[in-house]
Symmetry: D2
Subunit: 154 residues, 4 copies
């Protein structure tokens, strides 16, 4: 595997994930070349990211009616390491690599049933204030939730 | 082609469409069997239906911030007549087959470049009041808009 | 609930399902009206149908390299009974309502966590011969597999 | 707009695109937050990339039955600069930023109707030999096709 800018040591980086979400590749997610279409890992990233936020207790705030803040994806990237096929059961893991004032850099790891990575990625999310459209700093509680997950990692 | 419950005379039925929207089959819309995945014509139906409503001036009302009504799909069906392939340019036609008090039965026709039908369908839409969750009768103006389109047909 | 042409007695019809597949509504499957987009139940139908065929041992044949037959969707329909929201966990059930020479009429039932139906549907599948493009009669073994499932139902 | 690693001078970078493909945002591509779901620009990238390859005459080779080579996406990334809404008409531009032995680094630019960029991205594609699974060097003709497009740019 070639060196990726956002992963220093692959094995160590893989060991740092403590949250995973399982997905099974749908038939409608394959394309005429016979494998998982390249746009679908981003769907898996979103699903796993949301489950990650739910596990921290964030998502519930963001989707309730009167919420003043909304999470927004600033960027996303994916490196495709191996072809993935219909029916495969994948583990998609997520971790908060770096927590900024109102943003967080999330890293993603997709693994096949045999544990081999098939795609990896990252992307920055920002918590926006719905009214001002500007970044809304994480509360102390949110920051602690990120850190608690961090602690679980070790 | 076998007889479909919602089409009496195919040729006459096809002649009655006056609104069409073009789509080109995306690579990501194919599946590993090499053709358009069966879930995608419903995406095309929605796209064509919305363009149809836009052409009547309805959609603009429904998507504006303070709107009290919302269109809801009550049912949908599709008959797949021919396989469709990556890159094909299709014409998806829509017509209001029958206008009820607060609902409308829409019919759909997908045609290949050579004019042959590749999928046909229908589905009922209801205009709901957002607050009561009940059907909201079409206004005189909306009813006339449906009829005007009807007139264009002949 | 209004009477549907393909369901005689709803309660009895619901009792006849013995195969179910769970799905959780993805964020990307919602639309700007705030609920599950109407095209997505067809994706769930396909996923549940394939799991149903896998449970019978059919799908494995169809997706292996040298297979001479392929399953094709002839028609699909869905009645939307209740809005479905982000994050909901649904049970999508499938049964073979009627087995023809080379086709099968499948029925679908989507239920919310509280057991209430949120969408129902049906559609005919045909087993096609890849080389002739014509229907390929079910083998005795396939027919028995459908019936065995039938038996499980009771 | 913050500095992106793959864009030195935004204005110059934007001027270098000579191929564009138009898309209109579908209703089913929005999500419950009211804007284009973050996974969809990758669908647009694929659609525009394929149209770009078609314009060069590549895609036809890759999708014909006896083809020995297949294009594979090695990585993809997208920076989201502005929210995009239902019904917007976007221009998605593609250029070959750098041509390697058997790969090409493609850059993407999504623009709103007023010309403002709403998302930008890049990704490397590799031409693989189907039988060996290894990179297949671009032919002289393919290389010239990339360069011809390059020439058009200036």
């Amino acid at each position: 595997m070639k060196k990726l800018a956002y992963i220093e040591d692959l094995q160590q980086w893989m060991n740092e994930f403590s949250f995973s979400h399982g997905v099974r590749v749908r038939f409608s997610e394959t394309d005429m070349f016979g494998h998982l279409n390249n746009t679908v890992p981003f769907v898996y990233f979103e699903e796993a990211r949301i489950e990650f936020f739910k596990s921290l207790g964030f998502m519930q705030d963001w989707t309730q009616a009167g919420s003043n803040t909304i999470p927004v994806v600033a960027d996303l990237q994916c490196d495709f390491l191996q072809q993935v096929y219909f029916g495969e059961e994948l583990e998609v893991s997520v971790k908060a690599q770096q927590v900024g004032t109102s943003s967080v850099d999330l890293h993603y790891l997709g693994r096949k049933g045999n544990g081999e990575p098939c795609f990896v990625g990252r992307g920055r999310m920002v918590q926006l204030n719905k009214h001002t459209g500007k970044g809304e700093a994480w509360s102390e509680e949110q920051r602690n939730l990120f850190l608690s997950r961090e602690t679980l990692k070790k």
